[in-house]
């Protein structure tokens, strides 16, 4: 695995750690302040710090160090978890998130000097009660604790809080500069009095899993440690050396004000992959030679081992766990990380399997062998494999929802509106790509809801509402779609104003008659905004059309429910996956086409008296009092020999984002089935009105209709013809 791949894993873990810390702090804010919750927050920040050190992200590491120090005291009960402190921790978490983004190259390194000072002050103000003793306390005063009460030894130094780790950043960076700038580890004249000793020998795994022991040594020096000796006695000659084995051992000394816990925390990131002993005059831990790799049946490594070893070549820890403990550890590690490309190849193969199975079924039917038990079993297995493969790519939507509290905090700061967040269905799963691309539209909608939807508190009180607004986020699995709802309890859409603005901007004619739903849809028009002033949150009219486009690009739809005075809800209906979709297979002349089922409202065989001509170019059908334009699909796709009038075919009523409902005229409905989506962009080129292609059971390629694009294009074309005719 390359360093880049390992780094990518680190950043993925950062996302998880940030989400876990966010969840933990939200729970603390809601009143759940038990040990598990606080520990979860601490662990999240701690794991980011470990990786940051390993990869040399100095600013990230420095920030997490101070953040973690405060959390450590909170965890140990030294610092009480008050409401102001939780707010400080939440702000620190936001900045930590920015640091992670900066480390990824996705933004500037945040200004954190003031926040670091606040964190340090919060820790220092409360940390006087219980201070850890170093393993071998001496009389030498602690350099960072002169203004604190005298340290009181505690029974177990290993469990003691890091109360004396309130290092100020400048001092820490100075130490680092000193360490890097020239002081030889063995040239310091300070004697060993007042210092305690640590010996550490990283093993092979410490270099293998993305961590780098040398960077941890640097961290030890930042903490005040001094390298007394590097043990090179175990380094073998070149012709027998194994680069995967850790041969070097280090003897460090630390001043008494540095706690053992703080030092162990540095190496905690590599866990069992190093031996660490603390105490005067102890021997350096021995080298752990690796076991031979499984494929090396003949003993090739320095240490012989049974030929039938099945475990990866991970060295045994110094104190080998009992079999039962090992089994528990193995059971706990029930997840693995998979390279996304491998997963995509699996999904592709499953898609081909679905097609092959459909082709075989079709062939059997044509050979007069239908409804065999074996075919039924094969169909069932194919579906199981397909669903299992899809579920591997599925992730809980909670990873997107977890970013929302931060957005709300920022909005509260900028708008002064206090908003309560209600979340449900965060464990609902959908495709990873959909999840990743949902973040932006969701952010737009939330900002819009708070900026435009939720009223100022005085207006809310005047309207008989709670001064605090409520934003409700929910997700649920409905048939083969995921429905995500973003609802506020604000003022609702002012339709009169929306329509007036749309007319003013020339988006619709002045005498237009629109339904409530159609007026609501106007807010998705490019450039539309009713905001009186342009803020940095919303009001530029560039957000909502982007939202609709993003959702559409993901194969989803967005609808609005709004009630004046009571609030607005945006409902996103998203596909579970982008690879396989439900479609209606239709015949149009000499062609077979697929209409995405998500767009289909109903199908009908019209009576000719319900069809009305509109001008000379366009026919409309009256569906329960509502006139819907009819679009002959054969004209749109150039099919030959198709039904040309509605009474000779079937109308498929579809819902579009931009043009409302339309009825697509087809010859017959052939099937309704799952189709494997093949990108035309990848295999051919982008074609207007066509979303992709699929392979049918008979081996023929069928185009999948881009309903929105095709309807919009057809309507504008017929409008143009009508104008020319006029």
């Amino acid at each position: 695995m390359t360093s880049e791949e390992i780094q990518a894993i680190f950043f993925a873990e950062c996302e998880e750690s940030l989400a876990a810390a966010e969840t933990g702090l939200a729970a603390c804010q809601a009143g759940t302040q038990d040990d598990d919750t606080v520990n979860a927050v601490f662990r999240g920040v701690h794991s980011i710090k470990g990786g940051a050190g390993a990869f040399g992200f100095i600013a990230l590491q420095a920030f997490t160090h101070t953040f973690e120090t405060l959390l450590s005291d909170v965890r140990d009960g030294t610092v009480p978890l008050t409401e102001p402190l939780i707010e400080l921790l939440l702000r620190a978490l936001d900045t930590l998130s920015d640091h992670v983004a900066a480390a990824q190259g996705a933004g500037e390194t945040p200004e954190d000097v003031v926040l670091l000072a606040e964190l340090t002050a919060a820790q220092a103000a409360n940390a006087g009660g219980a201070v850890a003793s170093a393993p071998e306390p001496k009389t030498k005063p602690a350099k960072a604790a002169n203004d604190k009460p005298a340290p009181e030894p505690v029974a177990d130094a290993q469990d003691a809080p890091n109360a004396e780790l309130d290092i100020d950043l400048d001092a820490m960076l100075d130490d680092l500069a000193g360490a890097m700038g020239g002081s030889s580890p063995d040239s310091d004249d300070e004697d060993q009095e007042g210092r305690w000793e640590m010996r550490v020998r990283p093993h092979a795994g410490a270099m293998r899993n993305g961590s780098e022991p040398v960077l941890m040594l640097r961290e030890a020096i930042e903490l005040g440690g001094r390298c007394e000796l590097c043990d090179i006695s175990e380094v073998p000659p070149l012709d027998t050396i194994d680069p995967e084995t850790g041969y070097l051992g280090w003897h460090f000394s630390f001043p008494e004000d540095v706690t053992e816990t703080a030092v162990r925390d540095i190496f905690d990131f590599i866990g069992d992959e190093c031996d660490l002993v603390i105490g005067r005059g102890l021997a350096m831990p021995p080298v752990q030679l690796p076991e031979p790799k499984p494929e090396n049946v003949a003993p090739a490594g320095p240490a012989p081992a049974p030929a039938a070893v099945q475990e990866p070549p991970r060295p045994a820890p110094a104190t080998a766990p009992a079999p039962a403990a090992a089994a528990v550890a193995a059971a706990a590690n029930q997840t693995i990380r998979i390279e996304l490309g491998k997963l995509d190849r699996l999904i592709d193969a499953v898609g081909e399997l679905v097609i092959a199975q459909a082709m075989m079924a079709q062939r059997l039917v044509s050979e007069g062998v239908a409804a065999t038990e074996e075919l039924t079993i094969l169909e069932s297995l194919t579906r199981d494999i397909q669903e299992s493969a899809m579920s591997i790519r599925a992730q809980p939507i909670g990873s997107v929802f977890s970013r929302v509290p931060r957005i709300l905090r920022e909005l509260t700061q900028s708008t002064g509106k206090h908003v309560r967040l209600d979340v449900s269905g965060e464990s609902t799963e959908l495709d990873k790509t959909v999840i990743e691309r949902l973040g932006e539209p969701l952010t737009h909608l939330i900002r819009n809801a708070v900026d435009h939807g939720i009223e100022e508190s005085d207006q809310r009180v005047a309207a008989g509402k709670s001064p605090e607004g409520t934003l409700t986020l929910s997700a649920e699995h409905r048939s083969s779609r995921i429905v995500i709802r973003i609802a506020d309890d604000g003022r609702g859409i002012d339709r009169e104003r929306v329509l007036a603005k749309a007319i003013e901007k020339g988006l619709v004619p002045a005498d237009v008659q629109l339904s409530k739903e159609e007026i609501d849809q106007l807010i998705f028009a490019p450039g539309f905004s009713t905001a009186q002033t342009v803020s940095n949150i919303s009001g530029r009219g560039v957000g909502m059309d982007v939202v609709r486009q993003n959702v559409k690009d993901l194969g989803g739809r967005i609808t609005i429910e709004s009630e004046p005075g009571k609030g607005t809800a945006f409902i996103l209906t998203m596909p579970l996956t982008l690879a396989i979709s439900d479609g209606m297979v239709v015949n149009v002349g000499d062609q077979t086409l697929v209409i995405p089922l998500a767009s289909v409202v109903e199908s009908l065989r019209p009576d000719i008296e319900h069809v009305k001509g509109l001008g000379t170019q366009r026919a409309m059908i009256n569906v329960r009092g509502r006139f819907i334009p009819i679009i002959p699909l054969h004209a749109a796709v150039g099919a030959v020999g198709a039904a040309e009038t509605p009474d000779r075919g079937v109308l498929i009523v579809v819902e579009t984002e931009g043009a409302g409902r339309a009825a697509l005229l087809v010859d017959t409905i052939r099937d309704q089935r799952q189709v494997v989506i093949k990108s035309l962009d990848t295999h051919y080129r982008s074609v207007e009105g066509v979303a992709g292609a699929t392979i049918l059971g008979d081996g023929r390629v069928a185009l999948i209709i881009d309903v929105d694009g095709l309807v919009a294009r057809s309507l504008s074309a017929s409008a143009g013809q009508a104008q020319e005719a006029a």
Partner: protein, 86 residues
């Protein structure tokens, strides 16, 4: 004098990559290791350099500032740089 030039990133993968060249140079006199381009270095490469220095022919290392600093920080300055080829 055989010369090996180390890459910028001297991680475990780099150590595995340069080891065969180092072994091949054994017996051909002191090895000259040009590490002036080195901007990152980890334990795997450090111990390889130590081993090269302790090999029969010895090795001279031309360090980059980063390698020099890391060696000092890790307590290996004298082992890697003192007295030319060890």
């Amino acid at each position: 004098m055989p010369t090996i030039t180390l890459p910028s990133r001297c991680d475990r993968a780099a150590a595995e990559a340069v080891l065969p060249s180092m072994i091949a140079s054994l017996g051909s006199g002191p090895l000259h290791i040009d590490a002036r381009e080195c901007t990152q270095i980890g334990q795997a490469m450090l111990q390889l350099l130590v081993s090269a220095r302790r090999s029969k022919g010895g090795a001279t290392i031309l360090p980059s500032p980063v390698l020099h600093d890391i060696a000092r920080l890790a307590g290996l300055e004298s082992d890697l740089f003192d007295g030319g080829a060890a």
